[in-house]
Symmetry: C2
């Protein structure tokens, strides 16, 4: 039966395998939330399904549980979700996962790939429902919640399936090993090889991209034969609960134990993650979240292989441009999208205090800085568009951070653009804030040489571009960085920035204008997080994201030695006559 | 120029790539030390080259050094080698390695593969010289020193080159990324991808297999663009010093900085390994050696990815056989070879105390145990053969351990075969000991449930085969194990042992007789060390041995957006008229 699924989705897998090698543009799941693609009723049906979740309150999952239901999600757009999830006993849950893994880990790679691809396909069909769940947990605007939480996340999941398949499908199940040890004798071994997962896997989701950041680890671990315990952020459980539900359905329908995929929900008040990741039975951990907690996991789970995406400080180095307005418009969108709550949002923008060349002209620092602010104001001038682009602020803490940054700036620096509440007509209670832009001097490291998550950015006046590069490098090496943008019309300068990015291990985007942004990372083409600076130890997705999760166990069985008796006799006769 | 080397060795690489996928028997470097293969003068020339090393005393390497020469190797066959090596300042050495890495890491994969394959080819030509060096540092007999230290080690190195090439060659250097964002507009990015090593690599050699265990890490790190600091065991420097010399010559001849490969020798009195592995600049570590020091490295080098092969306790489970003599002869050789100083030598042999079925007969425990001892005595009855098989004892500590085990056994157990000094006619001063075989009861865990490195084995009387399996599993999980042997004519029992081996993560060999032994691991076919029990965290060689060593750094550069102006006009006209 599962082979039927492999056949059904084989073309998708084949295209994904080609895509990760060519790394040109490709996508399996359409990003346009169009009725023509997803069905004319899909949008309404997705919303209705989401609303039914809120009405039913209890999210049923027939996994081992304590009988109690827990949860406390609040939409950044204002309402309490009120959905609760089965509370789990970790020992019991992990025992069930371990048991479920037995048959799964012995199934063949095609079977697992078929099921993984079917789960992705089913998730894709639920994209509108998931979009609403993502929107009302993360605070993303609907369009972004649909794209990043739906098809883009599914693409990232498929990418992990492709990387795993690429590695696993190369390992033969058996080999007939024969070695000629003399003129007449051949020794023979029958060898068998079995792919063995390190053990139960845990995927720890974050509050801003619960699906996009979790699907790669989820599908990589499932592919190599592990059971996966999904541990969502207590503020963004619903999107992953739906994911778990879909996965369990597909597994059950295909004869596997649904406890291969379980949900370990918790609340802010009673967190369970530390106990979970340090548990003896947990051998693989994928984590996305704060640097502090990521580092705690890296050093407190020696029994497991740990893949982390933590936080960092992303820089923009502005040296010279052809078209100031085009650059400014591009950056304005990057800084505004989802109120700067992406791990890829730029925080520090370095501009020489003497200004920059723009085409054949020279523009002052102030001109360049204000160009960005002006474009931001224009972009956000239409309140409907602003609401959609900004979304809402996921976490109360971010509001405090904005206020703190603004207060500090009023004392010691200059606020170029204040952060403001923005009316969201559809959700008047939404927790909104537009981007705060602060001008500082290069010497004011206390202000900008730290992670300030949210819609907070610093435009930093430097001596010159070499100093900009130096400061960006320093911050990447010390605080981590996930992505850099640079603008220069000078090939030598561009080359110098490339070298610095390489050394600081930060992916770099050069001279982006138009509708392509530094905070976007495309599946099958972009390596997300270098894994070589403090922003994380893993990359979405490369082979190293997959290969440490499993081992190959081999059995060698002796076969009767082959002896050429005739040749032996001839040899013996020759020896006797010699 | 290096491409010429790639072309020269391309067939070898291609065959290796096919071999690691098919995993049938293949070898690139002939294991027979024959004049017909290596040249009629090769044997004498190799010995002469070795003797010249001893005469010259100072081993010259033109790497950064303090001017002082150090070393204190003593051949287990009796003589002091007297060879000394440049002492290094680690900061200076690592700085030179770092600098050398710049050009190397930017060279293309074919260039690096060509050079790696040329180094292997040159090493192969030096197999006789290396064999003498391995023999007189490890204590291996000449034939074994030649095979394991020469061609088999080279095969293992080539295997790592193949795994690295397989991973690296799939990553494109560039991609032209184009995405249709509307009916009329296509956004375009030029993407470039560069393979970046995590940083300088260190390979820590062991005293018993200085080349075989070091070459995989050495070549894997070289292939991904790292510089490699070779840190030999203070008792077995010479084989790796020759390796470093060969590698530096090939690198220099091909226009690269020879400091890509350096030697960090030390002495028992002034060890430098702890300082080296904890050094900030060291980002990749390959280690073979004791469990205690391996665990120290695993927890004291957080700045690096660490690959370890440590020690373990290998078990043999005897349930039933067709041919007792054939089994006994096979095990006798395994226990005798190199006086049991292989990480793959069996230590614990479990036999039901009620005896075993042999064909249609039943034999007592004593019959089975004595069959092994008798075969061992027969094998070692010829003193010339015994000298060649046993070799010499690498480390004084092993002698003490043998005495300790014998004394304990006299008090609490039964010595079935005493360990004895064996005259080596060629080297009368050789530190030799034949295998000690002790009979114990399953309850005497204190005696056998511990690693007793060297020619020490325990034949353990168990209740039955299920208890044998249980004890072998327990020891593998707690102490680690690199390989298990099992003998059973009952398919159900064999299946149960397979399951247990899988769970304990130990490769298993079933019913080996004739000239193929549990302590042998064949390159391109056998995965050596599971990496999932305390005997080590890495496998020689799988993809996971290569992929964590490097990352891909990407640069995206905006290309002008493609706009279909005609279509845009048509659209605009259509919109206006609508």
């Amino acid at each position: 039966m599962p082979h039927r699924l492999f056949e059904r989705h084989q073309k998708t897998l084949q295209s994904a395998l080609e895509a990760i090698r060519a790394r040109t543009y490709w996508s399996a799941y359409p990003e346009v939330p169009s009725g023509k693609i997803y069905g004319e009723t899909a949008r309404d049906a997705g919303l209705a399904a989401f609303e039914t979740r809120l009405k039913n309150r209890k999210f049923p999952i027939d996994q081992p549980n304590t009988g109690k239901f827990i949860g406390g999600e609040v939409s950044p757009f204002g309402m309490k979700l009120g959905v609760t999830y089965p509370q789990v006993d970790l020992d019991e849950l992990l025992a069930a996962a371990q048991q479920a893994m037995e048959a799964w880990s012995k199934s063949d790679v095609e079977t697992r790939a078929g099921i993984a691809l079917e789960i992705l396909d089913q998730l894709n069909k639920r994209s509108f429902e998931i979009a609403n769940a993502v929107m009302h947990t993360t605070g993303q605007g609907f369009m972004m919640a649909f794209q990043a939480g739906g098809p883009h996340a599914q693409d990232r999941g498929l990418e992990a399936v492709a990387y795993a398949y690429q590695e696993l499908s190369r390992i033969p199940a058996t080999a007939n090993w024969q070695k000629q040890v003399s003129k007449t004798d051949v020794i023979r071994l029958q060898k068998s090889y079995r792919i063995v997962p390190r053990g139960v896997a845990v995927v720890i989701g974050c509050s801003t991209f619960p699906t996009w950041n979790s699907y790669p680890g989820f599908f990589a671990s499932l592919m190599i034969g592990s059971a996966v315990v999904v541990k969502p952020h207590p503020g963004a459980i619903l999107p992953l609960a739906i994911t778990v539900e879909v996965a369990r359905e597909v597994l059950r329908d295909n004869g596997f134990d649904p406890n291969l995929v379980t949900l370990a929900a918790d609340t802010h008040g009673k967190p369970i993650t530390k106990k979970l990741v340090a548990h003896d039975e947990v051998k693989i951990i994928d984590y996305t979240g704060s640097s502090a907690f990521g580092e705690w996991i890296e050093s407190h789970a020696p029994q497991a292989v740990v893949f982390t995406e933590k936080a960092g400080v992303n820089s923009v180095i502005i040296d010279s441009v052809d078209d100031l307005k085009a650059m400014a418009a591009n950056l304005a969108f990057t800084l505004s999208l989802y109120s700067g709550q992406m791990c890829t949002t730029s925080q520090n923008i370095f501009i020489p205090r003497g200004g920059i060349d723009v085409g054949n002209e020279h523009k002052s620092f102030e001109d360049a800085a204000w160009a960005i602010v002006d474009e931001m104001n224009a972009l956000l001038s239409d309140s409907k568009r602003a609401a959609e682009i900004l979304g809402a602020i996921q976490n109360e803490e971010t509001l405090k951070r904005i206020d703190e940054a603004a207060n500090e700036a009023e004392e010691a620096a200059t606020v170029l653009r204040p952060s403001q509440w923005v009316l969201n007509e559809q959700f008047p209670k939404a927790r909104t804030r537009s981007p705060l832009v602060i001008k500082v001097a290069a010497g004011q490291k206390k202000l900008y040489m730290r992670e300030m998550f949210g819609p907070i950015s610093y435009i930093i006046a430097t001596d010159d571009t070499p100093q900009s590069i130096e400061l960006a490098s320093k911050s990447a090496k010390e605080l981590g960085a996930i992505t850099w943008a640079a603008y220069s019309t000078n090939p030598q300068t561009t080359a110098a920035i490339e070298e610095a990015a390489l050394e600081a291990a930060v992916p770099l985007s050069i001279n982006l204008t138009g509708p392509i942004y530094v905070n976007q990372a495309a599946a099958f083409s972009d390596y997300h997080v270098s894994g070589c600076n403090p922003a994380g130890n893993a990359t979405l997705t490369d082979s190293a994201f997959v290969t440490p999760r499993f081992k190959v166990m081999q059995v060698r069985t002796a076969l009767p030695q082959q002896v050429d008796q005739a040749a032996r006799s001839t040899e013996a006769a020759a020896a006797a006559s010699a």
